[in-house]
Subunit: 410 residues, 2 copies
């Protein structure tokens, strides 16, 4: 679906741009993805300006993209055709245009597309930036592109599964020799040293169990009901909620972070879908011993903008969301380990949620110590998991709740 | 879908129960509803015990159903076949069994069905109560029933649209002469006298507009971006959010409530779907004059359990969720009127949301005063609208937030 005729250039104009570009659309493989299309529920997360404020306020995010584009203006953008996938308010498109892009296709599925059009006009790029409203999977571009620019990262790198739309766009629309922004991505985990997190979770379970006893007593007195029949189910449900949901929030730099372990390290130019989702591997958490059990892991990601450059070269920019870096709106993903981890080997499996392919399931498997007992714990990583804030909160980097890091968690 | 063979009685047993009952299933019209089936997203609101605590703690709700069933045990339940639609933890089924029901079919679509089975067993009614796991629309009962018992009410009476499943079950499974629990329902509105609510909303909008200016200034300084281009859109979005969403929370008895006006008054034995959804009418808010503008309306409902009884008779029970009654977990639905109402006539239209048929759209139309200007304001009534609490809050009757009734709002 396109947002009105005005946002789609006349075919002749589009063709002209394409003839000047590296490739035309004619040899597009038109590959049909087996992945589900992004849903209306997912897009609703980004359909209002309000939903974009936290991202605009995220200085690490903004500066990384800004610097990467500006530093490589001559190298990658000048005179080139750019695809900005998930353009939002159009900031990346504007920077690409400022960097000299010949034309920018800004693809945005939500109502925010109209705001991106206004922004393009306000910056004098009404004729350089074409906003295409719709799902990437259902759009045709008039030509292939030289640069695929996208801010697709979610919690734990892959939440949202937006990267699947990026890979599809890459395979279909990126010209040979075209570059990806970002160019690589890593997913990391580390032991979290003795977080106040875990004991407070145990207290929380016991408090809820006590609440049930009070409720059951009331129900018995008032209505002759025996709610104690459900007490074991209630406890199980509380433990499930308390220990099997990831917590999304800022782990302060002052928290003791173990040696980071890389779970994924991928080149965005070549990575395939099954390298990102549905994989299993093992990771060594060397801090975990029977004497020093590990009660939580923390996960984060970094992405690099180093297309065609050696690591560390001028123009090579990193966006790092580690607990030891400056905070971002992605914060960190913490999972409590109950029982604690007493041996270093942890099996890790990451899959898309069967309930929503935008959400993730992280399954950790490990020996719980002597006598050996294999434990498997599966964590939900969703937009609504513990610690994320509903609209009623202030915009910006989310403060922590439920995690007893009071001092510097914001 | 049925939850295992054990929860579905052998056909022979079920048939025996039916032969002793008033009617068999053979003359069921098997009417197919044009309404959409309840969705997994809707059922997820009730899939855990946690989701039921607030309802169990709601003394007005519990006592009304308890008293209605106990007072009419001889009249309506003894030896009868009962359908408990949306059984949850099975409390109503147990009360029906205690009141002498010959058999109770407890229909529950969520995992909570297994808890209802445990509860039935724990109360000694394992053979009287049959828990059927599934959507009412997709289940076959072995026979017609004498009583249709259901707690189907949502915010503003009709949110959730669960009543549609009740009407479908009534038309399909209620035997001639069978009774509905509740037997009637009303939806009411009244002027809310000078609530602190509305001025605080104006301040909220202005605060957000000021926040945008700060953000725009930051973006300009840091990245040369002109975010002021979106300032009008930002203000419009804030006004939309602030003044066009209903607020769900307790309006204290101390608030000045105008003369209640009845929007709906329906007999549950005969009401049709189109009398509940998709109607338009007018209501007179006599308090509204140019000298005394009304800045908010508040809505609520009551239901009665008076099947076959004259109003006020012994056995006739009312569940009243008015601001002047004791608080319930439904609280009240308040809509700010911006501009204020200065003339008494208000057009009212209630429809199911096009985005989710479980949600409601309430559209109010009125003259905004001299010079006459017709205003139409549409309010979303959803599970997630302003003032409702996410899981992180305490269970029970929700305290108010965002509404400046500090003293006695809980």
């Amino acid at each position: 679906m396109l947002a009105g005729g005005s946002s789609w250039p006349a075919r002749a104009t589009a063709r002209l741009l394409c003839i000047m570009s590296a490739a035309s659309t004619d040899d597009s493989p038109n590959k049909v993805s087996a992945n589900p299309l992004p849903t209306a529920e997912y897009f609703a997360e980004y359909g209002q300006l309000y939903d974009h404020v936290g991202m605009l306020q995220d200085e690490q995010r903004m500066t990384a993209y800004h610097d990467a584009i500006k530093l490589n203006a001559e190298r990658h953008f000048k005179g080139k055709v750019v695809l900005d996938l998930g353009a939002g308010t159009g900031v990346l498109s504007i920077w690409a245009a400022q960097a000299g892009a010949k034309h920018v296709y800004a693809v945005e599925a939500t109502d925010v597309a109209t705001h991106a059009e206004k922004m393009a006009e306000a910056h004098g790029f009404g004729s350089v930036i074409t906003v295409l409203r719709g799902r990437m999977e259902e759009l045709e571009l008039p030509c292939k592109v030289d640069v695929l620019l996208s801010e697709w990262m979610g919690y734990f790198l892959l939440r949202e599964s937006m990267v699947q739309s990026v890979l599809l766009a890459r395979d279909r629309w990126l010209a040979p020799g075209g570059v990806m922004y970002p160019s690589s991505a890593r997913l990391l985990v580390a032991a979290l040293d003795d977080p106040p997190f875990v004991p407070s979770r145990h207290s929380e379970v016991e408090r809820h169990v006590a609440d049930w006893d009070v409720l059951a007593s009331d129900m018995s007195t008032r209505y002759g009901l025996s709610l104690q029949a459900l007490a074991p189910a209630w406890r199980a449900e509380q433990e499930q909620y308390t220990f099997r949901q990831a917590w999304q929030g800022l782990v302060p730099e002052s928290a003791g972070i173990g040696e980071p372990q890389v779970l994924l390290d991928v080149d965005m130019g070549t990575v395939q879908n099954d390298e990102l989702f549905g994989w299993s591997s093992t990771v060594q958490i060397s801090e975990a011993t029977p004497e020093t059990p590990v009660t939580a892991l923390v996960g984060w990601f970094d992405v690099r903008f180093c297309a065609g450059l050696p690591e560390g070269a001028e123009g090579c920019v990193t966006l790092d969301t580690s607990p030891t870096a400056a905070p971002t709106h992605w914060a960190h993903t913490t999972v409590p380990l109950q029982p604690p981890l007493t041996t270093p080997t942890v099996g890790v499996r990451l899959t898309q949620s069967t309930r929503s392919h935008h959400d993730l399931n992280l399954t950790l498997s490990y020996d719980a110590g002597a006598p050996p007992e294999r434990v498997g714990a599966s964590f939900a990583i969703t937009a609504e998991f513990r610690g994320t804030h509903a609209r009623s909160g202030e915009a910006g980097v989310a403060p922590a709740d439920g995690f007893a890091y009071d001092d510097d968690a914001a």
